[in-house]
Subunit: 365 residues, 2 copies
């Protein structure tokens, strides 16, 4: 899946460069200003994808700095790819000097989860806005520290919930808000994949298992759609595979949640299964199924609203969820607005994640 | 949904009668013998559907008796529709005389759940084989009584799990058994609908809520596919709607299950939502999604097996799950074989249902 998505994204990047004049309307209006410069922190897969997505000018962002433990290999490679001056390549030791780099407006944090807090705080202290990958951190205490540091430094903090910027998801939310499926009643969701040879299987770096990385998708989507916080949980974990792969984090998990309104949900996630990334949204008079719901390629929606079949998919021509996410953040910085998926949003997911692990009998800390 | 399915089934019945010579191969072989006669007990919607389905000769069954509290209205109506002699219309009081009716080989029980046990026992004592709708009864104690009575009387007992006789479901099971999605890891499923003005909302008649009637579909499918019994449960119930409709049974429920092998599942059901009837089957290397999975119209399967998309749907020409179910049961009677979905199968679901209600804090009894 990862390789294919990556290939798809690469293909998109080629398409963008060959068709620069045919960007969709919203992109042309949004890219009116000069792009904001950003430093990518941690040059792994997710940073690579984000930098590629920012080649689309509609994101309003341009890579102007690189932070890596391998300045001579990875650093040089991306510097030449994106015309970043050698002086704007930082290591984790020299990172704080980024304060003096006027070409860097914000940082994009694509580090292992356990490093999100430290680099958010250090970036804020250097006066840079922060776009941090999900999960926000590995504990609610860390999330609060990050929120405080950004408030203190008067910089924006956004958590990279890319799905919140997908037009198909937003169309689904519009239908729900318009009452097209009636009062919301329940959700069923999940996100499953095979993870191998990755820092995500190392508890010290990841903070937990697939719940933090994959289960967070249905969790966040449900919270985002409902605008409520779950307050009762049950959970079950399972690790069928013996051996090293799941020595530190659980293989699979299914859980239930209940919200104060009475809405209920069941969800699951795994690093050791092949399965869909989906969400069913059941209302009084209709339902929506987002499947695939969480893939990079954009959500596919189908269902029944007002007793009629509904269907929508696609991100629009030549764009990606990452571009839309960048566009939202750069607009927030330019217009001094709070991001939709701000630090509080990341904190609320982390509070739920802690409660789910506790319900499973495997608390985070 | 019910009306539409009903209409679809009626349309099929017309199609059968106009194309009697083009039945599929298996139907022609299966209908070699003289059809077995059955008495329909309780002439509600499900009996109506079953009798219509048995107009297809491939079922090998023919309605030869009727049991109803309204012999003069419903009884007469169906008697004239299916050429049942007036002497073969019984009331609940005169039912036991069916013992003397040589044209009745088995009974089809489409009564409210709380009456399944009594009429199974009385039918067995009258020497008739029993095809009983799901849920088998309203407690595991009742299920055991039914199994014992049928064993004692040497009659067959089958629970009408129509989905087990759907060729698309059986194709999915074949793929799984062939290892096409690898070792099974988890399931997510549910079945949701709006129930109004129905005995199913009356606890005395239904024995519980939608878990017994709708939740039993994903539960049975998972147990049937895995060939294992779940031994750990969590559950959450919710009743958002105030008022009479859900005064006696819960509106909605989501639950998790764990099996001795380590396979886990989450499922849900409701009598007060609009939603799909679906099952996701996640394996090590592939997955299958049955959606719709539990509709009368037959299952639709899609997924990934051996890293390639797979897809199948449809019941084959001019047949229904009810016809296939009848065909299985009449073949079992003719060949003195144990039905696939026998009393033990119904009992095992009931044991799980009792455990789920207990986990939800709302035990059945």
């Amino acid at each position: 899946m990862n390789r294919r998505d990556f290939a798809k994204l690469s293909a998109l990047a080629v398409a963008w460069s060959s068709l620069p004049t045919s960007l969709p309307m919203f992109a042309q209006t949004a890219s009116a200003g000069k792009p904001l410069g950003f430093a990518a922190i941690g040059l792994g897969r997710i940073c690579d994808i984000f930098m590629r997505a920012c080649q689309d000018p509609s994101g309003g962002a341009k890579v102007t700095g690189l932070v890596t433990g391998h300045p001579d290999s990875k650093g040089e490679k991306y510097a030449s790819m994106y015309n970043v001056p050698k002086s704007s390549i930082y290591t984790y030791d020299t990172f704080d000097r980024i304060r003096d780099n006027k070409d860097v407006d914000f940082v994009y944090i694509g580090l292992p989860n356990s490093m999100h807090c430290e680099y958010t705080v250090r970036a804020a202290e250097a006066g840079k806005h922060v776009l941090c990958e999900k999960p926000m951190a590995i504990s609610s205490a860390e999330c609060r520290k990050m929120i405080d540091a950004c408030k203190q430094a008067k910089v924006k903090l956004m958590i990279a919930y890319r799905v919140q910027y997908d037009p198909t998801w937003n169309h689904a939310i519009d239908l729900i808000k318009a009452g097209d499926i009636g009062q919301l009643e329940s959700f069923q969701g999940g996100f499953y994949g095979q993870m191998r040879n990755d820092w995500r299987l190392d508890r010290k770096l990841a903070g937990g298992g697939s719940l933090l990385d994959l289960g967070i998708y249905p969790l966040n989507a449900i919270r985002h759609i409902l605008g409520e916080e779950p307050n009762a949980f049950t959970a079950v974990v399972a690790t069928r595979e013996k051996g090293d792969r799941f020595a530190q984090v659980e293989q699979s998990m299914e859980w239930t949640m209940k919200f104060p309104s009475g809405v209920i949900a069941s969800c699951g996630c795994s690093y050791g299964q092949t399965g869909p990334g989906f969400l069913n949204i059941n209302g009084e008079t209709g339902f929506l199924t987002m499947d695939p719901g969480f893939n990079y390629g954009g959500a596919v929606m189908r269902g029944m609203a007002h007793r009629k079949p509904v269907q929508q998919s696609g991100l629009g021509p030549m764009t990606s969820q990452f571009t839309l996410e960048a566009q939202h953040f750069t607009n927030c910085i330019r217009n001094n607005q709070e991001p939709l998926s701000d630090g509080e949003e990341g904190l609320k997911d982390m509070i739920a994640i802690e409660a789910i692990y506790k319900a499973a009998g495997t608390p985070i800390a």
